[in-house]
Symmetry: C2
Subunit: 186 residues, 2 copies
Amino acid sequence: MSSASDLRAIALAEFASVGFGGTSLQRIADRAGLSKSAVLYHFASKEALLAAAIGPAIDRMEALLGDFTSQPLTAENRLRFLEGFTDLLLAHRLEVHMFINQGPSLVDVPVIDRANELVLGLARFFDSATSSTIDKMRFGVALGGAAYTLCTVQTLGLEPTPDDETRAALITIMSELLAPVATSLD
Amino acid sequence: MSSASDLRAIALAEFASVGFGGTSLQRIADRAGLSKSAVLYHFASKEALLAAAIGPAIDRMEALLGDFTSQPLTAENRLRFLEGFTDLLLAHRLEVHMFINQGPSLVDVPVIDRANELVLGLARFFDSATSSTIDKMRFGVALGGAAYTLCTVQTLGLEPTPDDETRAALITIMSELLAPVATSLD
DNA sequence: GACAGTTCTGACCGATCGGTCAGTTATGCT
DNA sequence: AGCATAACTGACCGATCGGTCAGAACTGTC
């Protein structure tokens, strides 16, 4: 019944679907059955609401990436990363969808800058870990494709696949896709 | 020097980066060095500007999909589709990025409804052509991943890869990814 | 140079934006 | 019951939104 967490969820859904700039506090308030003033009572500003909505997902993403990049890029570490990444996507698909698509246009918002640093750090890691263009692109297609499939396809109104089945399929597909990419085991 | 086509390009870039609702006519006018009234002289409304910006890409997408779905799903037809899809992405990455990510939230805009019908038609085609969840997801990851890699990664400020190299790599990756999926040749 | 048509501007409209503030209602503790 | 605090509302603010309109500036043609 907590209004604050209701508002976070409602705001997240709005931000992800029509964008931060395209979302109005009034609309969020209407969906929550509250007044605009009540929204601003719980969150000091629209940006604070954004930070509350996507902050936890970014924390978790930072932890996952910190673990991954501090270890050698072995095949089993990569698999564990893919599993962790998939679990994170399943739990925070809207958040990821939001800062992947709108991150670059929302600079100077602190929580978004953290997200952009994350994505950039991930890209740089693949850049240093792989040499050829096609291998870099394999990572992009695997991670981007997984995020896309999970976040966007569902908005099409197709029948939802159970999470555990989705999880297994995504991990299989990403593993196949990255199989040709050399690891530091070689 | 045509202001109209300048405006189309500027508006497309804005729509793709901050969303349709997050873009103001004033900002488009400023970027074009014109007044807001001048923008509304060339395009009757914000929606008309959107239609002009993404309409051609949707036309081309419709043609590509029409060809593909009217033919049997053989391996070589699928390859030709992947090539055509990649070329379309390379030529219209901003448009595709825009209606993939914002299409579901912009219903009742005619040009967007056409785009949504397209994406839905593509999803239904894969739904009928493949049986297992993992195979459907392979299509999602392949097409979504390609679109993501092309449209979003570039906004990170990485060094751009030449288009022909990107094209070859994407087609290779998508072909690998879809290789396990049965075609009607079997 | 007069004229027509295209291109563009500035003033203006009602509506909505994010945000402030004073005051009201609901809640829980003693 | 009394009281502090949390939760919330409605009125209001300046700014900006998409869009209209009358007219100015530019263009080419005769």
